[in-house]
């Protein structure tokens, strides 16, 4: 029985990874005062009535706010609004991501005319439909309700972060280890200690789509690589400056770093930081 449960859990996790998601937002942790794209893969929604249509498709949204009749961004117009979606809400097909992947681009605070706090608090709720969404006795042609929870920006950056916050892989990147926020008791209160940072990059070949990982040194040998030694700044923080293309040995313009995983080790490598964040590259 135990093995069956394990198998089911494994399969569900695998499914989520293999079959992907039906809807998502880009960028991943957006600033809602800037443009975002809301993506929906109509081949993966639970209600697949839209997937029989060639489009175009429209969003129908009500949260954080639904626009009233007469507003230029109202969901639909006329007596039977559900059968006449507003052209201003027409989505765009992104065939590169999939034949049934459509997106709508908006700046949430401008689109909904609400403060950023409202977007973070209420999230964005919508569904996708054809221009004539059916109804009034006919079957609806729409997806299920889709809700996007957007986390507000964090003011606490944690014990490890990048500076500048948006990294460019052929420019200098500073990886900061704030020892004052270390949770591992053995690693606390380190003053001018000899520390090394293990870094592991996920690199995507934009032509083949293949993702590989690359670490300049394994954790067993990082204390022999001076390029990975952290510099103490005198205020409890340590810094590793690098040019990602050089340290991760990237020579092809097709190779893009998607994220970098970090762990800080003492020289003895017997002790390591509590945190192991994965910092994403956003400029690609």
């Amino acid at each position: 029985m135990k093995s069956i449960i394990t198998l089911l859990i494994t399969f569900s996790l695998l499914s989520a990874k293999v079959f992907g998601q039906a809807s998502w937002i880009e960028p991943e942790n957006p600033d809602v005062t800037k443009p975002i794209r809301i993506y929906v893969d109509l081949s993966k929604t639970t209600n697949k009535s839209c997937s029989d249509s060639t489009g175009p498709f429209y969003i129908w949204t009500w949260s954080p706010k639904e626009h009233p009749i007469g507003h230029p961004l109202v969901n639909g117009t006329g007596e039977k609004a559900w059968q006449n979606s507003n052209d201003a809400l027409k989505m765009t097909n992104d065939a590169a991501k999939g034949p049934l992947v459509w997106y709508y681009e908006m700046t949430p605070t401008e689109f909904y005319e609400v403060p950023a706090a409202d977007v973070y608090k209420k999230g964005i709720s919508l569904l996708v439909k054809t221009k004539n969404g059916g109804g009034y006795g006919d079957p609806d042609v729409k997806t299920e309700d889709l809700t996007f929870t957007i986390e507000p920006p964090k003011t606490d950056r944690g014990s490890m972060y990048a500076s500048p916050s948006d990294m460019v892989q052929n420019e200098v990147v500073n990886l900061i280890y704030d020892n004052t926020k270390e949770l591992n008791p053995v690693m606390k209160n380190l003053v001018n200690e000899e520390l090394y940072m293990w870094v592991n990059a996920s690199i995507k070949d934009t032509v083949t789509g293949i993702i590989r990982t690359f670490a300049p040194s394994s954790f067993l040998t990082i204390n022999q690589n001076q390029d990975l030694r952290l510099v103490y700044d005198g205020s409890g923080k340590y810094r590793l400056s690098m040019i990602p293309n050089k340290i991760f040995n990237i020579t092809s313009p097709n190779d893009l770093i998607t994220q970098v995983e970090l762990v800080v080790y003492m020289k003895s490598i017997t002790d390591r930081s509590d945190g192991q964040p994965k910092i994403k590259f956003s400029c690609q």
Partner: protein
């Protein structure tokens, strides 16, 4: 008579108090100021997306830490009204000026605020000056912005020392 003496006294005192304006000399040529060899001394990065414009000082990355590498450098020359620059790129971790050589010019030779670089085989770009540059100045400052697409992400603040 008394009035004449008073008036005369007033006139004498006015002219006696008049300050002699000394000639401060010819303004220092900024072209002469910049023509020299310069080597990177300090470097910091400003996160332009940060609300507080967070600055990270990483001068040792180019100077102390990488002793085996040549420090970023640039040499400005000026002849026949044409400015040329060269960069010794051997073992340089990063060339801030795109190519090993090219042309340069001020936006205003008397009161420059930026330098325009035309790298050989590259695309022209301009760097704002962090301060004026005269022959007596030992530091040349630039601010080099870095964009992703059209969005400004961060800037390098570069200080070069005259060699």
């Amino acid at each position: 008579m008394k009035k004449a003496i008073i008036i005369a006294s007033l006139l004498v005192s006015i002219f006696a108090c008049k300050k002699e304006i000394k000639d401060i000399g010819t303004p220092s040529s900024k072209i002469d100021g910049i023509t020299a060899k310069w080597e990177l001394k300090r470097c910091s990065m400003v996160d332009e997306l940060s609300l507080i414009k967070e600055t990270t000082n990483m001068g040792d990355f180019f100077t102390v830490k990488n002793m085996s590498k040549t420090q970023p450098n640039i040499t400005f020359t000026y002849a026949n009204n044409v400015g040329n620059y060269t960069v010794d790129t051997a073992n340089v971790l990063m060339n801030f000026f795109q190519s090993p050589a090219g042309k340069w010019s001020f936006d205003n030779n008397d009161f420059p605020t930026s330098v325009t670089f035309i790298p050989t085989g590259g695309t022209a770009f301009s760097l704002p000056l962090g301060a004026t540059i005269r022959t007596i100045d030992s530091v040349l400052k630039f601010r080099k912005p870095v964009y992703c697409g059209s969005e400004l992400k961060f800037s390098y603040v570069l200080e070069f020392e005259r060699k």
